[in-house]
Symmetry: C2
Subunit: 650 residues, 2 copies
């Protein structure tokens, strides 16, 4: 078979591939990570690269302009190699390794009632065993059990085969003085039932030596791991990293499609495990601790992430009637799935509610404590799926609306994730200013702009609306092009140029067009419609909500004013909004620390009422009403109505 040489500008060396190889596959072989948000289906156009020498056969040029194609641009996932080529990977598409969420560690305070002796299922027990004699022929395991009963009152304990295989050697090498670490199942009344021997440590370890656990949040985009000292309860270190599955699909649907391909499920499981294991290595290095001493892990994440992490097929999540294989996975051991901590450590995947309301949401409810308050609360995780929970300690209802990945930068021509070079906030001057309709913006990492991230898009749209660049239907008012050339007819229809090519990293204009705006409107309308339906389902007016709790790392960067102006968030006094950051990992942390929290999250997940939005027309009607800026019913957005009226923007 004929082979061709493919050289990437950012690869160390060229690769040789046979005729017919996909460009995306060649990139993989060359070690070049090209994002494929749609999972390689040719839908998103985000894997575009520039072939600067030679030619490729393009199966599809969707989302590429004629000019793009003439300049050699091609979709990596849709282009077939049939000769030697040289390829440039455009800056925006390079997957930035540095996460904005990793910039600062969050201060986490240990719950004031944390008492490792009572709260923790993990116990450390120093033991001095009586050595065996000719007249005391008790076997090693029974001898250890007797000591555990006498020293710690443990009546029922089990041991894995793996640990039994090491038991005799450890006991003898340490002269029958060892530290046992056990993990317990705890019943609702706080009674320990069966315990499990997790590990035996050489010799006796001081009682206040650290003993570690992990709180893990597997996000579709970002994986976060906290290393927790189980004795003090303190978070010793935090680390985040892109979920390496990202190159196989940016949203859960693309991931599910990829996982259904031959070998895809194994690849995605390995990818997320790699990401977690690398974070664990990093955390251990930073704190000078040994991964062997991590004896427990608690995992939160949406249902798809949880299925893929456990290697469980997720196909049915995507297909009507959208059913998970399991919402409350059994506790497994780290060794079983290859999590690189103590192989006997329990890996406790927290319970979810449904296909699109996963453990990240029950964990979020736990973290924001809405299940314990008398206040009517709305919990919201803005992301691809706008998961929303409404309720209080009396009742909880939840729904998920497929908002799409627009706020994560996908489905928007110049959209990108919130990394270096992303425009994260925008302002546009009003018609009465000396230079009408001129933008100014703030870029992450003081770099040249490369695109627009979610918070940038929200503020840009709000500004365009308030200044009249778009009307309440979201359509760009082309007639304003006479006043400012940024408003123009572009390749994809009417558009507004946020940054001219001479300011940007790529040298090309960064603009937003009507198609982009339509996608953003769908996203915000879906989320807002979710609130409406939840409130309707329990017959509570939305205005009665006393606090709006916003989770998810994206939530941290939302400007409330702008989000209300486009009708993403309900129009309420700003002090009712609380931005909580990554509530998913916070809930995992609380569940890791205290079995009472673990009990609570089980109750949260099993008692929350899930409202399936596609079951009738209620959601569709609410969605259509929210497809305007800010909403059909302007009366429910009084502050926005006033702003539009006053044209306060200059």
């Amino acid at each position: 078979m004929t082979e061709h040489t493919v050289s990437f500008d950012i690869a160390k060396q060229p690769v040789r591939v046979p005729t017919g190889t996909l460009l995306s596959e060649a990139a993989r072989l060359a070690g070049v990570d090209i994002g494929q948000p749609c999972g390689g289906q040719g839908r998103c156009g985000r894997c575009a690269v520039q072939v600067t020498k030679g030619e490729v056969r393009r199966r599809s040029t969707l989302r590429l302009s004629t000019e793009d194609v003439s300049q050699g641009f091609a979709l990596a996932c849709q282009s077939v190699i049939e000769g030697d080529i040289i390829v440039t990977v455009p800056p925006q598409e390079k997957i930035e390794r540095r996460l904005t969420t990793d910039r600062t560690a969050i201060e986490v305070s240990v719950p004031p009632d944390y008492d490792p002796q009572y709260s923790q299922t993990i116990r450390r027990i120093g033991l001095r065993l009586t050595p065996p004699r000719m007249d005391d022929q008790t076997d090693d395991w029974s001898r250890l059990k007797t000591a555990l009963r006498q020293k710690a009152g443990i009546e029922d304990i089990s041991v894995s085969l793996g640990l039994l295989q090491k038991l005799g050697t450890i006991l003898r090498e340490n002269n029958w003085q060892v530290t046992a670490i056990t993990d317990a199942h705890i019943e609702v009344d706080g009674q320990r039932t069966d315990e499990r021997l997790v590990t035996l440590i050489a010799d006796i370890v001081p009682e206040d030596d650290p003993l570690y656990g992990l709180a893990i949040d597997i996000g579709t985009t970002t994986v976060t791991v906290w290393l927790v000292d189980l004795v003090s309860g303190k978070v010793e270190a935090q680390a985040s990293e892109y979920n390496s599955q990202i190159s196989r699909g940016e949203d859960v649907i693309s991931r599910i499609i990829f996982s259904s391909k031959n070998g895809g499920r194994e690849e995605l499981q390995n990818r997320v495990l790699d990401t977690i294991n690398q974070l664990v290595t990093q955390l251990c290095k930073r704190t000078k601790s040994r991964s062997q001493d991590i004896v427990k892990a608690t995992v939160a994440g949406n249902s798809t992430m949880m299925h893929l992490f456990l290697g469980i097929p997720a196909a049915s999540i995507r297909l009507s009637p959208f059913i998970t294989a399991v919402n409350q996975p059994p506790i497994i051991t780290a060794g079983t799935i290859g999590l690189a901590i103590n192989p006997e450590a329990s890996v406790d995947c927290l319970p979810g509610v449904a296909s699109y309301v996963g453990a990240d949401i029950s964990s979020g409810v736990l973290a924001c404590k809405m299940d314990e308050t008398g206040k009517l609360s709305l919990f919201l995780d803005v992301g691809t799926n706008g998961e929303t929970v409404l309720g209080s300690r009396e009742w909880l209802v939840t729904c998920a609306c497929s908002a799409g990945p627009a706020f994560e930068g996908a489905g928007v021509l110049h959209g990108m994730r919130a990394t270096k070079g992303a425009i994260e906030e925008c302002w546009i001057s009003g018609e009465s200013s000396p230079h009408p309709y001129e933008p100014s913006y703030r870029v992450i990492g003081s770099a040249k702009p490369r695109g627009l991230c979610g918070s940038g898009l929200i503020s840009l749209l709000a500004e365009m609306f308030l200044t009249g660049v778009v009307d309440k239907g979201g359509a760009i008012n082309l007639s304003l092009g006479k006043i400012n050339p940024r408003i123009r007819e572009g390749e994809h229809g009417p558009e507004y140029v946020v940054a001219w090519g001479n300011e940007t990293e790529s040298g090309k204009d960064i603009a937003i067009n009507n198609v982009d705006i339509d996608n953003l409107k769908r996203a915000k309308a879906a989320i807002y419609a979710g609130f409406t339906v939840l409130a309707q389902s329990v017959g509570v007016p939305l205005e009665m909500v006393e606090q709006i709790l916003i989770g998810g790392s994206f939530g941290k960067y939302i400007n409330v004013e702008k989000a209300i102006q486009i009708g993403l968030l309900p129009d309420m006094p700003w002090d009712r909004f609380k931005f909580l950051g990554n509530t998913s990992v916070q809930g995992a942390y609380l569940s890791l620390l205290d079995w009472r929290n673990r009990d609570r999250i089980r109750d949260i997940a099993s008692q929350m009422t899930y409202i399936e939005l596609s079951a009738d027309n209620t959601f569709y009607d609410a969605f259509m009403s929210a497809m305007f800026l800010p909403h059909t019913d302007l009366a429910s957005f009084p502050s926005v109505a006033a702003a539009v009226e006053n044209k306060t923007i200059t």
Copy 2:
């Protein structure tokens, strides 16, 4: 490095090995299975082969005569290859593949009270699930749990990750109609507690379709597997095979030594698993069943075999104070250790009592029902370790005496296992016959004799004693050589020729010498001393024993009269002896069928009192008294005294 060519007469083709390779290693590479009963320590002399061309460097020639060496004989485990050689593997040393115990299947009757609905922990439940709908979003696993609760009243059930990974596909492919197979933990009062989902079978299976379990006995020499229909309780097929560990040591001590070498533990575990898996394949083929349908396995075996099967280090079993890692191993799943049946099947290793009284003995006690009878019983498993249990339903005491492998043919120059070519019974004419001191014998498999097996050695020694060829001390009376040249001074001292070279397969004489007799005496004295000490320990005279139950496959072939004459068995009316065959696999079968038996064996193992013989001098004194034929105290062997007196042998 220089390489040499080694050709074995029974290998398909020669192998090339570097200078310095052991002959035994070259044999392994050539696929030639040479027995190494002592584990390759050069102690037993059983791996002798004949180098017919070329030379080897002999590190040791122990147990080889000068004549042997001059003929090219060398110990494979002690000979270093330093040039091209051609090797003949003598017939006696080839490991015969056909076992005598496999010649006939034993008729096993199903216990009359067997009721799969009540007795069996395995349940098969046909289920028709309600398919999920938009307004019934229960996850797959919860849906299945609900169906199991409604149909079979199962409240608490767990599932493995492996099965969860298949669950959704199985349910959907079979249109939500499946058969679940579950396994239960059962409490003492017969209440089912937590059950475990073992497998889901495509579609609904008829209630009376077979559903299989395995009863496994891992003997040091032989592995026996019974395939059991768990619905009818019937043993569908039986198969036995040499434990393939045998080439790495013939007795448990040699195996432990081998297992302590680098990689030895893994090799021995793989070898016994290979043996079992081959037997399972055989059984499935014979009964046209699928290994996937075997959903439970119960395993008996001595403590060393159990440790090696589970991959648990056994070193401490061999070293004072002789402690096992575990007597009651946890239940594991077949997939965990690579047993080639349904990977979710539970593998239940039965409990043992001590290092040298293992699960084979508690299983034997269960099978012979001595724990349920009012009769004072003596249970005996003749083998390398003479394990003995004395007692009734009131109490049980047990001990193990290291008899050595003489009855299995090791430690005896012309000893061999009970396979084709083994002399299994002997008679010697008395001094008053026309041809005094002439032997006649019976050979297994109507072949030319190749050696003497255990039963052959017992009857030969008894005949030699009764005819006066040996005295009560076991010494050969050389003066009789004047009457019959079979009694002569041989290479290893005085000997008696049982078969002349012209009758034998090898063309060499088969004889027994004073050293062999000494080893046999030690073996029988150890076993007899065991009885004595047990009886003394509880203050019961041996004569009060009402039945002597003999287990082990070797036991089946013992001639009681001869065994009493050499003082191996106590002198009692023959009708008190019962030969039960392989009681170890029988007990495994009973435990597999009925949880009440499984409870019984747990009680047997935990309540039996273990007497450690090396704790004081009682055993040593009893052993020394038993080092005579039949015993120092002839009064306790009245039938033998009478026979000697009457010289009834002609």
